[in-house]
Symmetry: C2
Subunit: 428 residues, 2 copies
């Protein structure tokens, strides 16, 4: 499908810059073939021409940390701090999930991502082959993060997944990872560090999420989780941490030295009472910041608009009203997340890049008047503004409808069936 968008406002987001281009964007063979003013005359043959009526095209949001299949626990596991939430609600319920469940529950998350303008997710869960199938079957882009820990996974299985997933489908890729320092013994951590060294690959993990995690690691190892993992050689080829709320002295230097990415997850951090990540410090120090929703059991939605407002809002609350510039936050959501996930081809709107695009409807009251397009998106935008979501040049969602082969009602019914079955098994 070759598609022409015209009469568009375009926020390319090549850098944290709110400059809007008014003109056209052409998609050919899944990539952006032209972007600029409408004067250009030699047009290729288009399968479809979309009059944007001044609506906004920007790079799709990159959800840089999530556990998609946890949709089944939405509004089930709530109102507890992380440790209790994990051990009392999440782990016992998750133990009953089958591969088929994970495929179905991930598909529910994909519907939600698309309805909110998200075009790729950095997913950490198990039965990773089924997540990959879900990407292939829906057209959504998944980057899968290794999740090895003491309850499952080895360096060997991590390598197998890494190789298989990176060869599976252009919409799927895999990055090395493990669940967290606090769930992974040192022997396995060393094996994973050796694997990272061998593959010259970055490594990603839950990191410095709660004060208790950091204190406990200090008590056991004499080091912060960041320093401890770095001492094992984990970040020789970079990588990043999800959450990164609680830093100790010296952590920032390691983050900068290793070129680590931070993915902040503010909804989850407030809901689990974990704290506020020092995002303004990261911005000031040049640390690349991506944004994620975390899983739908701790958030409970998969809505990058909510996360963007919270990223800036929580910094303003804790640092000052001028903290966390909204244009930087938008760049984090659209672009930095892509770079963290290894999707350098999806990080902005430019000729040759993947056509991973969202169109936001500006003809809605929350987007008017237009004093600043970018600030409207971050401060007052909502998923209700998402008019169209395109991944790899395919329109997957448009004006409330899913335009690929899926029956949403069947997806909802299946999710309800799964949680009902597991509640009965667990007697709750």
């Amino acid at each position: 499908m070759n598609i022409r968008f015209y009469n568009a406002r375009i926020l390319p987001m090549e850098k944290a810059d709110a400059t809007v281009i008014e003109g056209e964007l052409w998609v050919e063979n899944g990539r952006i073939a032209y972007l600029g003013d409408p004067g250009k005359t030699e047009k290729p043959a288009f399968d479809r021409e979309i009059d944007c009526r001044g609506n906004l095209l920007l790079p799709g949001f990159k959800n840089a940390h999530t556990h998609s299949a946890m949709t089944f626990l939405r509004s089930f596991a709530d109102d507890k701090p992380l440790h209790n939430w994990l051990h009392e609600d999440v782990f016992p319920m998750e133990a009953h999930l089958t591969g088929d469940d994970i495929y179905a529950l991930t598909k529910l998350a994909v519907l939600e991502y698309l309805s909110g303008g998200t075009t790729a997710a950095f997913d950490m869960y198990y039965h990773v082959d089924r997540i990959a199938e879900c990407a292939r079957d829906t057209g959504f882009r998944f980057v899968i993060c290794g999740a090895a820990n003491d309850y499952g996974g080895t360096a060997e299985s991590t390598r197998r997944d890494y190789e298989a997933l990176n060869a599976f489908d252009p919409l799927v890729s895999c990055r090395l990872g493990f669940h967290a320092e606090y769930t992974t013994n040192e022997s396995l951590l060393k094996d994973l560090a050796a694997l990272a060294e061998e593959l010259k690959a970055p490594v990603f993990t839950h990191l410095a999420e709660t004060r208790a995690e950091v204190d406990d690691c200090v008590n056991r190892t004499g080091m912060s989780p960041i320093a401890y993992l770095d001492s094992l050689g984990m970040f020789r080829y970079g990588g990043g941490g999800f959450h990164m709320v609680h830093l100790l002295d010296g952590d920032l230097e390691i983050i900068k030295k290793r070129g680590l990415y931070v993915c902040t997850n503010p909804s989850s951090n407030v809901k689990l009472s974990s704290g506020v990540a020092p995002v303004e410090t990261y911005y000031r120090e040049g640390v690349p910041v991506a944004i994620g929703t975390d899983g739908p059991a701790s958030n409970n939605c998969l809505d990058m608009f909510r996360e963007m407002f919270l990223v800036t809002g929580l910094q303003k609350l804790t640092v000052g009203a001028d903290a966390a510039d909204p244009v930087k936050v938008l760049h984090s959501a659209c672009s930095v997340g892509a770079n963290m996930m290894g999707l350098d081809d999806c990080d902005c709107l430019a000729v040759g890049k993947q056509a991973d695009i969202v169109m936001l409807d500006m003809h809605m009251p929350n987007m008017q008047p237009i004093n600043s397009v970018a600030k409207n998106v971050v401060y007052s935008g909502s998923k209700a503004n998402v008019a169209l979501t395109m991944v790899a040049g395919r329109i997957l969602y448009e004006r409330g409808r899913y335009t690929f082969d899926v029956d949403p009602e069947a997806v909802y019914a299946k999710a309800n069936e799964i949680i009902t079955r597991i509640r009965i098994m667990e007697g709750r």
Copy 2:
């Protein structure tokens, strides 16, 4: 119009209780005529019958503190703390607004309220006759709060507005109020207290919003703003405060003794770096808590879903993961706000109450699976779920369309014209 909703999930919200009724709701002559199971056979003649397909009916959200016409400053005045934001951006720009401007800009806000399921707003602004006209012309419900202060308004003008607005139209009412302690001299405050005494009426105002406001009042009067106003007899007949972020010792006792309402505005409080209101304390102490967006220049949207998540999220962050029960928060948004505004007829879904109703679409991925209807609304709901908004028995918004006599594009054009004109006048 008599309207029958059937196959509905209904959250009546008579109290903070998440019990869902499955059945029907009938609207006759603007009020709820029946609510219950579908077994009842004697049906009146309906003008329209709506198959809700399991979608959720709940009382419309009450935006209990806003400055609607400030839409013109959306994404214009940002990233500053309250004092600078007011004096550098807001006051100079507002000085150019005409009555016609306020009518047009309020209409833009009404479109946004309706698209987000809000059925009434407690508005504080000037040219109040034009706000009232806007209610009459759109069908939206406005409660107008007096805004007298040193820059405009007297006890006499407050009384005139009070009498005129309360007689103007069933959709319009007025409550006594003034802008804030820090913008109103003691002589005017005493006049307003005497007026409240004479009318036996509650009084509402911006109160304890920032630390600086409280400190300054203590320096001048030796008392907190709450204690100072109470010492003038302001709250003899109750009333309430907008924001109520910073309490001093003794304030809570005054709040409880006078039966004051609190309206919390978390988006505005984070964005202006004002702080986190002690909402969990208010809940624990039985203080009635309503929720507002504040104006669109400090928020910048008028979206009660965002506010609800922030109310609970900020309490979880600062108090603990079990704070600010989501059902209580939903009750605050739908019901307590109505009581604060004097709309006791609009506070829940029950026979005889005003038909101020929102229908939320549950057939969307963020609402699935349905482990808890109420938690889904608060934790993962979005204005994208708003399928229908009804005020006083009239459907004003349905599936993205406004069903009263309005041209949204003309409203947007007018708002852009106003801000452009004022920017030119101010040379910015």
